[in-house]
């Protein structure tokens, strides 16, 4: 039985797969593809000893030469999350019709053919981290052995190298697509893969937390919330609470001024408050009220307001989502234990549908429960390169130093206050003026792809980006 327990391990790890053949219409074309589901073991570099059994679902297009066909490895974050959100929510051949940010779609959400699948552009491999999904450590290792920034990236490297070798994909153009914690994982992993001789073509960072020390929701307690302010602005604008309120089409350009304010006057006031409890100047408070919709007294009392305060106080009696502030529910939570409306409304459908999809559509059966979330996050070693909390921009910079043609694309949602878009922009700006590094923002939350309109825009942008990366 597979288990997400930190101390669990497999005595033996059979590499059993289920292979099924499928067909779908995409525009005027028909995509014939193969789904391969099951386990493949990551082997220790050097000794070849199996260390972890990875569970994956691969969708590969039929009738094309694997040697030149791009391949993309997808993974969610957490750490401890299974890759169910990207698998059934984003660019696979099927997706759940969530109708986000509306909460009126019937649940459990229907699994539908995905008109925005990336399968016409790249083969897709959705892989679960150790301890999540059905991935598990192999004895004498235990799941906990891989619960750390470095150990996790190393074992992902070993899985990807094994996958490429086992499937004859060594010469395929290779891409990584990680979300949330999957972003910093991608940075560390890209550095390790490049060093090991696996040349990547591109890395997509979906709502990444590249530097934990630059996000006041997860960083050291004295971290400025400057990176959050533009996301509060986008939220206020969505609910017609900004003064004056920009029209939806004007929001992206309106946010330019908010960025300038956030990194300038606001950041100075916030840092002064953190250092010496200095109250913010009235001009800063006025601008915060007009930008964020939160009342003046809240900002006067503490200008460094994080996501929790904002989403629980913006609208009395209402909770806004952390992943997507556009999603709201009446606030019936005990103080301090507020749910995330944008998370709770989707979770059950994903749990139910992944189980069903694996067995009914992909003919994969396993008596163990597919684990959406382990408790790895509680036991994680966040230390990396001398810092208590990871800053993975140097890892990404190291990957680029080893492969200066590497393309990097970050995609973010304006209404995500878990990993704010402006924080990501600030993080990637550290790489300097590199034309291979881009940031694109969309209306939406952490999982921008759940928004039907944004997913359509993303598909078009990603198809173009893949094309330019392959020509790079």
């Amino acid at each position: 039985m597979y288990s997400s327990n930190p101390n669990a391990s497999l005595a033996n790890a059979p590499e059993i797969t289920s292979v099924t053949h499928h067909s779908m219409a995409l525009g005027s074309a028909t995509l014939d593809y193969t789904a391969t589901v099951g386990h493949l073991n990551a082997l220790a570099m050097g000794t070849g000893t199996p260390r972890a059994s990875f569970f994956y679902v691969a969708y590969t297009l039929d009738g094309v030469a694997p040697s030149t066909r791009p391949i993309t490895f997808f993974y969610n974050g957490g750490p401890g999350s299974a890759t169910v959100w990207l698998h059934l929510g984003s660019f696979g051949p099927k997706r759940l019709a969530t109708g986000m940010p509306a909460t009126t779609a019937p649940t459990p959400y229907a699994l539908v053919d995905n008109a925005e699948t990336l399968l016409d552009v790249t083969d897709l491999v959705f892989v679960d981290a150790v301890g999540a999904g059905l991935s598990q450590a192999i004895a004498p290792n235990v799941n906990q052995s891989f619960y750390g920034v470095d150990a996790d990236a190393q074992v992902f490297r070993d899985f990807i190298m094994r996958y490429l070798l086992a499937n004859g994909r060594g010469s395929s153009p290779k891409f990584l697509f990680g979300e949330s914690y999957g972003g910093p994982r991608s940075a560390v992993l890209a550095d390790l893969l490049e060093s090991a001789g696996v040349r990547l073509t591109g890395v997509v960072l979906q709502s990444p937390a590249m530097n934990y020390n630059n996000n006041c929701g997860i960083g050291p307690m004295s971290t400025s919330c400057a990176g959050q302010i533009p996301s509060y602005g986008a939220t206020a604008a969505w609910f017609n609470r900004a003064q004056p309120n920009p029209a939806a089409a004007e929001v992206p350009s309106w946010l330019d001024g908010v960025r300038t304010f956030a990194s300038g006057e606001y950041d100075a006031a916030s840092r002064a408050f953190i250092a010496t409890q200095t109250p913010p100047p009235a001009t800063v408070v006025d601008r915060l009220v007009a930008t964020t919709g939160l009342r003046a007294s809240a900002w006067q009392e503490n200008p460094n307001r994080g996501q929790h305060y904002y989403r629980t106080n913006l609208t009395p009696g209402t909770l806004h989502g952390r992943y997507d502030t556009r999603v709201t529910l009446p606030n019936n939570s005990p103080p301090g234990q507020e749910i995330d409306p944008s998370s709770v409304v989707i979770g059950s459908s994903f749990q139910m549908r992944i189980t069903e999809h694996l067995s009914s559509n992909l003919h994969y059966t396993n008596p163990s429960t597919y684990m959406l979330l382990s408790n790895a996050i509680e036991n994680w070693n966040f230390g990396h390169d001398g810092r208590a909390l990871p800053d993975t921009i140097p890892d990404l910079a190291s990957a680029i130093a080893q492969n200066p043609r590497l393309k990097v694309l970050a995609v973010n949602g304006y209404h995500d206050i878990a990993t704010p878009f402006y924080t990501t922009e600030q993080d990637l700006a550290r790489l300097g003026n590199n034309p291979n590094v881009r940031v694109l923002n969309y209306f939406g939350g952490h999982m921008t792809y759940l928004d039907d309109n944004s997913r359509r825009l993303m598909k078009a942008d990603l198809a173009q980006w893949y094309g330019s990366a392959l020509a790079n």
């Binding site: 929701g217 460094n304 998370s343 909390l389 140097p394 910079a397 878990a418 550290r430 300097g432």
Partner: protein, 128 residues
């Protein structure tokens, strides 16, 4: 600041997630089978011990940090100030160096030092 979530709460929520996975028969329209997603998240005791260490590196400071990373990896195989043969690079897992060895080894000596590697990366466009 972040939600004052406690370990016990996480445990409880994870337990709910486990129950939701095991008992799809209990599926309902209510919030009883919530699957929580907290990421990214850091346990409070870890956050409280962490400190802000100056400004995030960029420009020359980031370049120095990258060089330190690459040098540390090279020297883990070669020893401090040491050199590598292609075979040593390969057996140490430095596949990229083994792959590009001839181009790195401009002197055709069969051994390369970190400065040879750095010069090679620079010649390929690295901002090192």
């Amino acid at each position: 600041m972040g939600a004052p979530l406690r370990t016990e709460l996480i445990r409880r929520l994870v337990a709910i997630a486990l129950a939701a996975g095991a008992a799809t028969a209990a599926w309902g329209q209510g919030a009883a089978s919530q699957v929580p997603m907290l990421d990214p998240w850091v346990p409070p005791e870890v956050r409280e011990k962490a400190t802000v260490q100056g400004s995030p590196t960029s420009g020359e400071a980031l370049r120095v940090e990258v060089e330190r990373k690459l040098r540390a990896r090279f020297e883990a195989a070669a020893g401090r100030g040491g050199t590598l043969s292609r075979e040593q690079a390969r057996s140490a897992g430095l596949g990229a160096i083994a792959r590009d060895f001839e181009a790195i080894d401009q002197r055709q000596s069969g051994r390369i030092g970190f400065e040879d590697y750095k010069a090679f990366l620079r010649s390929r466009g690295a901002a090192l």
